[in-house]
């Protein structure tokens, strides 16, 4: 329960805190002490990083994830173009072989604005709720959301420019996403319009792919330029209420990235590639309170940390199916 509260607090925007002395298990304390005493580890770490620089690890999870993301979005497109009624609609609401699905945040906006819920929407919302509870909430973001893929490319451009010292990242206070979530919920209720849908890049890009692009793509392009030149991954990190909704759903999911302290060298390669590095606070030397920990609710299960970790201390695991996913 303590872990869950912390995980949700960080999701809502709290900064991860250094744990109190009494929070550590004896096993974790023993490993921390051992790691401090063992000076040979430093040399090992340097060797490890040097090795990694020469032999780039394959981005296995990213390849799998991009494949899934593109296939899901193409299914929508192909289904409509060929009129095969496999996956009808768009990401805001759809039918998969006739079965209703509704994006949780879009459904919430409609429910608050319209203040009436028809049975189809109940079915669609429940299906998606169970689906993304099972598959880990924000997994939607990195494995399905088409804006996420565009933002990843923008991130590559941002990282390149930042490396060349042409630009610097301007982080925002992460609590603003929770404020956005509340403001858009209140706006839907008070105005009676689904205000957030107007600017939702997820909805705009999804519809652009399926029904053809329109002026909405100018807004999406503006966001991407903002992310490239001003603030890395800004929309997904600081703004998107969809991400927060799914984060809450996935906070108690069986799908998690797991962390193992015993094998970790604390090189922080994982934090460099992470969209939401605050969830990886435990990899900082001395922070892990237990030997095995689960990465928090804001994690999108993109698997980049899993690929980046030279010691395989991070893994994407489904409770009970851990081995099968490796």
């Amino acid at each position: 329960m303590k872990h869950l509260i912390k995980s949700v607090a960080v999701l809502l925007g709290a900064e991860p805190k250094k744990p109190q002395a009494d929070e550590y298990t004896p096993e974790a304390l023993a490993i921390h002490a051992e790691q401090r005493a063992d000076k040979s580890r430093i040399a090992l770490i340097h060797a490890e990083i040097a090795h990694k620089k020469q032999h780039k690890l394959p981005e296995k999870w990213r390849r799998r994830r991009w494949t899934v993301l593109i296939v899901v979005n193409l299914l929508f497109v192909v289904s409509f173009q060929l009129d095969i009624q496999l996956l009808e609609g768009a990401l805001t609401a759809s039918r998969f072989v006739g079965f209703h699905m509704a994006d949780l945040n879009s459904a919430l906006q409609v429910m608050l604005a319209y203040k009436e819920v028809v049975i189809n929407l109940v079915i669609g919302t429940s299906t998606v709720l169970v689906l993304w509870w099972l598959l880990g909430g924000r997994t939607f973001c990195s494995w399905v959301c088409p804006y996420h893929l565009l933002a990843e490319w923008a991130e590559m451009a941002h990282d390149y420019l930042a490396k060349k010292k042409i630009i610097t990242d301007h982080p925002f206070d992460r609590r603003v996403r929770t404020v956005f979530w509340l403001v858009f919920a209140v706006l839907a209720f008070v105005t009676g319009y689904t205000v957030y849908e107007t600017i939702s890049p997820t909805g705009i890009v999804s519809r652009a792919l399926i029904y053809g692009p329109g002026a909405g793509m100018v807004w999406v392009a503006t966001l991407l330029l903002f992310e490239i030149f001003y603030s890395k991954r800004a929309w997904c990190r600081y703004a998107c209420p969809i991400g927060l909704t799914y984060g809450l759903v996935g906070s108690v999911s069986p799908l998690k990235v797991t962390y193992n302290l015993a094998t970790c060298f604390h090189e922080a390669e994982c934090k460099k590639v992470c969209e939401v590095p605050h969830v990886l606070d435990m990899v900082v030397k001395g922070r892990a309170t237990e030997v095995d920990l689960l990465v928090g609710a804001d994690c999108t299960h993109c698997g980049r940390c899993v690929d980046a970790c030279p010691t395989h201390s991070l893994n994407l695991e489904f409770k009970g199916l851990g081995q099968l996913l490796k």
Binding site: A90, A93, R95, F172, V176, F180, T194, I199, V218, Y238
Partner: protein, 271 residues
């Protein structure tokens, strides 16, 4: 001027981050509220698909997924762009380009709607209320001029489709593939989906052998009257049974067309 090269203190950094977060917050909420402008300013009077609730309720309940677009056999439904503000992604029909001819018979768009923005309380074409046709350009009307019509109703390049039951019950074809030869033009009446159903019912053959498909009221007729020049002619007259499907507007060979669909007093269908 050279940039002063000084390191910011932790407090200064925090202060800057706070300020730019406030700007981001106000900025994004501000941009989203711009969606109000086209709605309040009534930039567009949209014809919504069959069963659409009143405009405000419709925009509140529509989840902007386009499932209605996908099921329409004549592709009459299009999604609005960002210029519709809060209406972005909401479905509408441009009746002059492609009207709703009810060729699906079962109101597929209504069935597809996941949120009830197209109310599930209606089942038949005559129960819909998208608007009402108005005669706005009577002088151009071929019937009023006493003329017939021969050829493709809207020219060879027109992409709009209609279902012609005598051609194919299930597959709508292009209007351009179905030329007419009429002694007196009555295309608006002839192609009216409501009038077609009434004719079928009068002949004892209601669509899908379902008596409920029979519209209770006529939608359009031709009245005969003596015009100012003393000549007796016919002219189209819209009746209470008109549901605003727009087929008369689409099929009218006059340019500009004789009809427009007025959606302003429509959709009293709130569930």
């Amino acid at each position: 001027m050279a940039k002063p090269n000084k390191r910011l203190t932790r407090e200064q950094k925090a202060r800057r981050q706070f300020l730019r977060t406030v700007v981001l917050g106000v900025g994004i909420v501000g941009v989203s509220l711009l969606g109000y402008v086209p709605v309040i300013g009534r930039w567009f009077e949209r014809i919504r698909p069959p069963g659409a609730l009143k405009e405000q309720e419709f925009l509140a309940s529509c989840i902007k997924c386009g499932q209605c677009v996908q099921v329409c056999p004549v592709n009459a439904i299009k999604l609005a762009q960002l210029s519709d503000g809060f209406g972005v992604g909401s479905p509408h029909i441009d009746t002059r380009q492609q009207a709703c001819d009810f060729s699906c018979d079962g109101l597929q768009c209504v069935l597809a709607c996941p949120t009830g923005a197209l109310t599930h309380h209606i089942n038949y074409p005559h129960e819909t209320d998208m608007g009402v046709a108005r005669v706005v350009n009577e002088k151009q009307c071929l019937a009023v001029m006493g003329k017939g019509f021969k050829g493709q109703a809207r020219g060879a390049s027109f992409k709009g489709k209609l279902r012609y039951e005598e051609v194919d019950r299930w597959k709508p074809i292009r209007v351009s593939e179905h030329p007419y030869d009429l002694e007196l033009c009555d295309l608006c009446f002839r192609q009216c989906p409501i009038e077609m159903r009434i004719a079928q019912c009068d002949a004892g053959k209601p669509p899908s052998a379902d008596e409920n498909q029979c519209p209770p009221q006529h939608a359009i007729t031709f009245e005969t009257l003596a015009f100012e020049d003393g000549i007796t002619r016919k002219r189209p007259l819209i009746l209470d049974g008109c549901v605003g499907c727009g087929v008369c507007e689409m099929i009218c060979p006059a340019e500009p067309g004789v009809f427009v669909i007025d959606s302003s007093e429509s959709r009293g269908l709130a569930a």
